[in-house]
Symmetry: C2
Amino acid sequence: MENENGCPAQALLKTLSGKFKPEIFRRALQGPVRFSELLRDIDGANKQSVAVALKELEEQGLLHKDIITPKPLHIEYTLTPKGQSLVAIFQQLELLS
Amino acid sequence: MENENGCPAQALLKTLSGKFKPEIFRRALQGPVRFSELLRDIDGANKQSVAVALKELEEQGLLHKDIITPKPLHIEYTLTPKGQSLVAIFQQLELLS
DNA sequence: ACAATTAGTCAGAAAAACAAGACTACTCAG
DNA sequence: CTGAGTAGTCTTGTTTTTCTGACTAATTGT
């Protein structure tokens, strides 16, 4: 349970590890994402995994949870500044692959 | 078993997923790495995982396996050009974390 | 010749990640 | 007040990943 590894990138890599986090992150680039929408739109997604992925992305400071009060009350997850700073790096990764 | 997801970075993310690949990759930046050395030096490492990680990094074209013949015959894994092209990206990741 | 080192493979067990379905709780439209 | 939608949690089971220990096989040191 101790996490003492000397690789700083590993933490970041870990934040986007897992089956759905990269996909959720990518969708968040294009605007706020919502739980039920992700569940419907991502092929093979299930409640548990999406819920955990969202919670972790939030804990890692990449997404921010907004409770939208007016009209039809719902919850939106939007990219934080930290999340946005990752975008440029991912664009480079995409060029490389 | 079909892999048809619209996230190009996900493939790269996957190549460095797993418990030891990022750490092995990072060590390879500083010079050739060897199986038994990784096993000794990486905390918590086990034969199987290190062997699989090396094999996959090699298959993905990030590391190259060299059989060093003279003196004490052994095997070295060195970064390929493709592997080196990832370095710049990782340096940015490290700044971010 | 014998033991150690290097570089693995293989089978099985243990741990972690993922998935399915039932259930909760609140809101909103009719 | 009823039904549908959103946003989950909880429990259980399956699948994937990781770990352990035994084994192989070639080379090198004494």
